[in-house]
């Protein structure tokens, strides 16, 4: 019995008022695929939301998304518990120091050294949420596991019904101070203790959405008001049209209360 393929569609846009290059969300999906291709091998998706109050949040989010995805693809069992997840993030934190040294040296060489107002932020380090998902094809289904720090979310939808919401399941669960992974945080035990994990089964016909907090809060708010967000997300994905996605985001921010923030949506359609 073969498993249904998973079709992956990805959208990302910056908050209104920022350029796309300034977007502090990052994501990595492995193995790398052509857009909207059907996947029938083990896959990993990691989405990170850089904290805008921190310096170099975008670069940290990118480094984290790539590094955690590499670790989890190599060993998906790292998402089984907090200790494993902490291990998966360790190379990122270990890699931050050397990355930062290169960055500072490059700025000096370019005649653009850091200024006095950068020093505090550089000393504190950068911060980001992390959502890591691994999925393995099985008998007519996919077995998934996930680990998270913060409020980047996974929603599993079947027949327009939300059957899994991880790690946040209510609109009230979104605030201005989610858990974050810091680039200078070598406290592996604390990371293990704060991480949340989940697992389950995806069946043919399921829609799985990995979303950063602005979209996640919008989805749960609508759902709690008995309005269905899922058909909207599904139709955006069916087109895979980045301009249509941007138009929808603009409209949701202007008329539907979606917070103006960097916005990422990864859609896994099970069954292609």
């Amino acid at each position: 019995m073969s498993s249904p393929p998973a079709r992956v569609t990805v959208f990302k846009t910056a908050k209104a008022g920022s350029r796309y290059e300034e977007c502090e969300d990052a994501l990595t999906v492995l193995p790398r695929q052509e857009p909207q291709s059907d996947v029938v091998e083990p896959l990993v998706a990691v989405v990170c939301d850089g904290a805008s109050e921190s310096m170099l949040a975008r670069d940290w989010a990118r480094l984290l998304a790539r590094s955690v995805a590499d670790e989890v693809l190599r060993d998906p069992s790292l998402l089984a518990d907090g200790a494993g997840f902490s291990q998966a993030t360790k190379p990122s934190v270990d890699g931050w120091g050397p990355w930062l040294e290169d960055y500072l040296a490059t700025r000096e060489a370019d005649g653009n050294p850091v200024q006095w107002y950068h020093r505090d932020g550089l000393a504190k380090g950068a911060f980001a949420t992390v959502l890591a998902v691994a999925a393995v094809p099985g008998d007519e289904c996919w077995h998934w596991s996930a680990a998270a720090l913060g409020d980047t979310c996974l929603f599993q939808v079947r027949d327009d019904t939300l059957i899994a919401a991880f790690p946040v399941s209510e609109a009230a669960g979104f605030g201005l101070t989610p858990d974050l992974l810091g680039s200078r945080n070598h406290d592996t035990e604390l990371i293990a203790a704060r991480a949340q994990v989940a697992r389950g089964i995806w069946q043919e016909g399921d829609d799985v959405y990995l979303v950063t907090d602005a979209v996640a809060a919008w989805c749960l708010t609508l759902r709690e008001a008995n309005r269905m967000p899922w058909p909207v997300l599904e139709s955006l994905s069916a087109d895979g049209d980045a301009e249509a996605f941007q138009a929808w985001v603009d409209s949701a921010r202007a008329r539907d209360g979606m917070r103006n923030d960097d916005t990422t949506l990864v859609h896994l359609r099970i069954g292609g």
Binding site: K15, M55, Q115, R119, N260
Partner: protein, 278 residues
């Protein structure tokens, strides 16, 4: 809902600090810690601008989420910026950050990661230097501030309204400032009326009265006048003040009477607490 506009580079916020530079500001501040009132106020404003610059700093530089004016009043009324910014009124925050009059290196103690403290140095940029000379022409500075704010609103009609913070140690010497204060607070953006907050710096010791919502505990006519011309704190500032441990009533005013060093810092911290930056 008023006072809810998002602060961004395309819709920046605006702070106008009015700093009493009258002769009596060279007297010591009341309370336990020594220091001249003018030094305490200048230090507090320099620290606030430092923290604001750091908070708005990203890799490419400080983002212009705010524009800032520092206006002194005493012997004369006008810009109190020192150094390269001298003579300017509202300055974008990136230019403030890039143009301190000087940067002092001061010692500070930080945790060493092993339960102790280690001494390190930290940069302390200075934009205004203490001055104390002359009377207290509060009407004149309120009229000056009204022009600055009005010009800002012409250019930025839709954003979070300007916040004017007046730091003074004594009574106006050019008449009752109620009408000129109203000239400021009658201005508005689409998001709400301009806010005027007042801080009276202590010379006498005694306890500070911080963000009151009634004037019946105020000791004299002058403090009641300052209370009367102070705007009510918007909701998010009220919540922040409460979260900082202040016992605030339903409609606390942006007003502190008999401020010591701590309450000067608190006044500036709460009075510049804009809605979360995006």
């Amino acid at each position: 809902m008023p006072y809810s506009a998002e602060i961004s580079r395309t819709n920046p916020g605006c702070f106008v600090f009015l700093v009493d530079q009258s002769g009596s500001m060279s007297d010591p501040i009341g309370g336990d810690a020594p220091g001249r009132k003018s030094d305490v106020v200048a230090d507090a404003i320099n620290r606030l601008l430092t923290e604001l610059s750091i908070k708005c700093a990203k890799e490419e530089g400080v983002r212009d989420y705010f524009h800032v004016a520092v206006i002194g009043y005493g012997h004369s009324v006008g810009s109190a910026w020192a150094g390269a910014l001298a003579g300017r009124d509202l300055v974008p925050l990136s230019e403030v950050a890039d143009n301190p009059a000087r940067v002092e290196e001061r010692a500070k103690k930080v945790p060493d990661g092993a339960g102790g403290l280690v001494e390190t140095t930290t940069s302390f940029p200075v934009w205004m230097t203490p001055t104390a000379n002359g009377g207290t022409p509060m009407n004149e500075v309120f009229r000056y501030a009204e022009k600055v704010v009005s010009g800002w609103l012409d250019r930025n009609p839709g954003g979070f309204p300007p916040i004017v913070l007046n730091l003074t140690d004594g009574e106006s010497t050019d008449g009752d400032p109620s009408a000129t204060a109203a000239g400021i607070t009658s201005l508005a953006s689409a998001d709400g009326g301009v806010l005027l907050f007042n801080l009276h710096v202590s010379g006498a010791g005694g306890s500070s009265i911080v963000f009151p919502d009634r004037d019946d505990s105020l000791p004299d006519a002058y403090s009641r006048l300052l209370f009367g011309i102070s705007s009510v704190l918007p909701g998010h500032m009220r919540s922040y003040a409460a979260a900082q441990g202040h016992a605030v009533g339903e409609a606390p005013r942006g007003f502190v009477y008999n401020a010591d060093i701590t309450s000067v810092v608190q006044f500036l911290d709460i009075g510049t607490r804009a809605t979360a930056l995006r």
